[in-house]
Symmetry: C2
Subunit: 126 residues, 2 copies
């Protein structure tokens, strides 16, 4: 496991996801202030290019620079807003889910043990 | 924009992505130590369930508990390894890309201005 490589790849995923969230925010705003433009942006963003935030923005810059700049500003604002809490939140989410999975699995196994006491649970892996 | 909602959704995305990265790490290890199991895990993980880390792990727990526990341990290790640097990295990535997009757009516009000095660049949006 290359720590730096994982950190860099994760950074790109978060950046793209916050671009997506910024698009949702701008779409909500436009639905109130400029419904035809909201409709256009929704149609433009429905294409698969939103998978990669930078590819999406490059395409949008060609079609509507003002909207692209607005989405860029919003995603910058979003990361500023959540960056402080994010590491702890992810850490606790993973710890919590792992602990839930382990607990549920143990409960399942103990229920099976009651009904079939001689069952062998050793994994066949490795 | 609901800050808490965005932070929570982003947390889930990162958790799922680190589960994917943990699967890649375990796959690399198994390719060395147990190629048939690596093949099996690759085939299992190729299904779309890897989009959601928890759904993926729940399915894997049924098929191979040991591998699921191993992936859970690796993703916990991964977040511990990268969590400290992550916020700054995402913040700088977004700032950098935004600045690059703005610069490139200005360069494009200034090139157009030279060839077509009277072109009106006002956006038609809103």
């Amino acid at each position: 496991m290359d720590r730096k490589k994982v950190a860099k790849a994760t950074t790109k995923v978060i950046s793209s996801y916050l671009t997506y969230q910024a698009v949702q925010t701008v779409l909500e705003q436009l639905t109130e202030t400029n419904p035809p433009l909201a409709l256009w942006l929704r149609s433009f963003s429905g294409r698969s290019i939103l998978q990669d935030g930078e590819v999406y923005l490059l395409a949008l810059l060609v079609e509507n620079q003002e909207l692209a700049f607005r989405i860029m500003t919003v995603r910058e604002y979003l990361i500023e807003e959540i960056m402080e809490d994010l590491p702890e939140m992810v850490f606790h989410e993973i710890k919590l889910k792992n602990s839930q999975h382990r607990k549920q699995q143990l409960e399942k196994l103990s229920q099976l043990s009651v009904t079939e006491p001689r069952l062998n649970f050793e994994s066949s892996s490795e």
